[in-house]
């Protein structure tokens, strides 16, 4: 599984990193960074949960 992060749209609300710190972090400018190019199988549910809570829809799980 891959996640697409729209860094232009990200406003740094940080909910993704609260929900799934193993998948998402914020860089020094508080813009989302993905920890994995390919989300490990055991983190897929967390990746989905983190993408879902993005308030500005900047994260999209790719099939």
């Amino acid at each position: 599984m891959q996640v697409h992060a729209d860094r232009d749209r990200c406003e740094g609300h940080g909910l993704c990193a609260d929900v799934a710190p193993e998948v998402y972090e914020l860089d020094d400018d508080a813009v989302v960074v993905l920890r994995h190019d390919q989300v490990p199988a055991e983190l897929e549910r967390k990746a989905e949960a983190g993408a879902r809570v993005c308030p500005v829809a900047a994260l999209r799980v790719l099939p």
Binding site: E11, G12, H13, A30, V53, P55, A57
Partner: protein, 398 residues
């Protein structure tokens, strides 16, 4: 209206006083009727199920905001071109001026100051033993904080809450109730115009930054006033309503109070749950740009559609036991702040304000009880309380 003979129709009046007093039964009925329902009472459709509302909020191409997000054409007209009533790409330029101030990394620097103000306020009311949690606790903090951040002069700040209240009411029906609010609304329009002036706004403030963006050529000069309006309206009665709703749960449920007092790390989750179960903004309107298939029901092009955030947040298809306040639910995917393009830019600030106030309240009191019936504030768009009389036992004196 003969767009579709099979279109589900409901006679529910979402703005009737008894429905506004307790809209949740009506929402459930609409959710159970169909994914999209046309109303006979107003010339609108309404989406009430979580997944449909969420998808509608995310699909600005089909559900445009550019014709306004209010019920009536009369009240949509003055908001056109503002940040609420534009689509990308125009919207994104305007929003960026707000969001760079409201970004959580920027807000983090304000957290200590807001916490201090909240604690001083809580100390003051707790010392009195009984107080009104709407007028004396929930209202002063957001107004003071936001007014200072915008850089507003002290004179005139008393207009902010009633003005924001009347402005949001103008998103609803233009009936005798709105007519009664019209003097306040008109007065607030005048006030907002008077502060749309860099010479009256504090240097370095959010308000001043709007005019800096004009000077820098980032945004057109005519958008400065509407952008300032967004600051002057969005974070007042909405935040007050959310804080009061959370406080009410604490007063009515001693077990919840005890749980949070024992584990303050749940304060944040509890706030999300308060937002979910009593969403301040009931919903805003959109207009369809094409025939839109909403989970099998076709909403014709050119329809005005209410996206009901408050109903979505009580949708049993998405939240188990949705009418129950579950402090551990942490429903961060709720739609109380909207979602996607127009998702509330100031939600981080609302969280800091509410978490600070509730945190101080929990630290400073051992018991909290209703001292009378809470009073509902009738409003077509923002659901909140008029009064919440409480008595408290200060910490260590119980």
């Amino acid at each position: 209206m003969t767009s579709s003979v099979s279109a589900p129709v409901s006679d529910v009046d979402l703005f009737a006083p008894d429905v506004l007093a307790d809209p949740y039964a009506a929402y459930r009925e609409l959710r159970d009727t169909a994914p999209a329902v046309r109303l006979s009472t107003y010339p609108i459709w309404v989406l009430t199920r979580y997944e449909d509302v969420r998808a509608g909020l995310a699909d600005w191409q089909s559900f445009t905001s550019a014709q306004g997000v209010a019920l009536t054409d009369e009240m949509n007209a003055p908001m056109l071109g503002g940040v609420l009533a534009t689509d990308p790409p125009e919207h994104d330029v305007l929003r960026s001026v707000l969001s760079e101030k409201l970004a959580p990394r920027v807000l983090a620097r304000l957290r200590a100051d807001i916490a201090q103000r909240a604690d001083a306020l809580v100390a003051q009311v707790v010392a009195r033993g009984s107080f009104d949690a709407v007028t004396e606790l929930a209202q002063p903090l957001p107004v003071d904080v936001v007014a200072d951040l915008i850089g507003l002069p002290l004179a005139g700040r008393e207009k902010l809450l009633p003005g924001a209240d009347a402005t949001f009411a103008s998103f609803g029906p233009l009936d005798e109730r709105m007519q009664a609010r019209m003097p306040v609304f008109m007065d607030y329009l005048g006030y907002m115009q008077s502060v749309s002036d860099p010479s009256v706004l504090a240097p370095g403030s959010w308000g001043a930054a709007v005019f800096d963006a004009v000077d820098a050529g980032r945004i057109p000069a005519e958008t400065a006033g509407p952008l300032l309006t967004a600051y002057l309206v969005a974070g007042m009665d909405t935040t007050v309503a959310a804080i009061a709703a959370y406080t009410r749960h604490l007063a009515e449920d001693p077990e919840l109070f005890a749980t949070l007092k024992a584990d303050p790390s749940l304060i944040a989750s509890g706030f999300e749950e308060a937002l979910r179960i009593e969403s301040p903004v009931l919903g805003f309107f959109r207009n369809t740009t094409r025939d839109v298939d909403v989970s099998g029901v076709v909403v014709p092009a050119g329809s005005r559609v209410l996206l009901s955030n408050a109903s979505a947040n009580r949708d049993e298809r998405h939240y188990a036991d949705p009418d129950r306040f579950d402090v551990r639910r942490n429903p961060l995917d709720h739609l109380a702040f909207g979602y996607a393009t127009h998702g509330c830019a100031g939600q981080g600030l609302a969280r800091i304000e509410a978490q600070s106030l509730i945190g101080s309240l929990l630290r400073r009191v051992d018991r909290i009880e209703l001292a009378g019936d809470p009073g509902r504030h009738e409003h077509p768009v923002v659901r909140g309380l008029e009064s919440l009389p409480l008595t408290v036992v200060p910490a260590g004196q119980g």
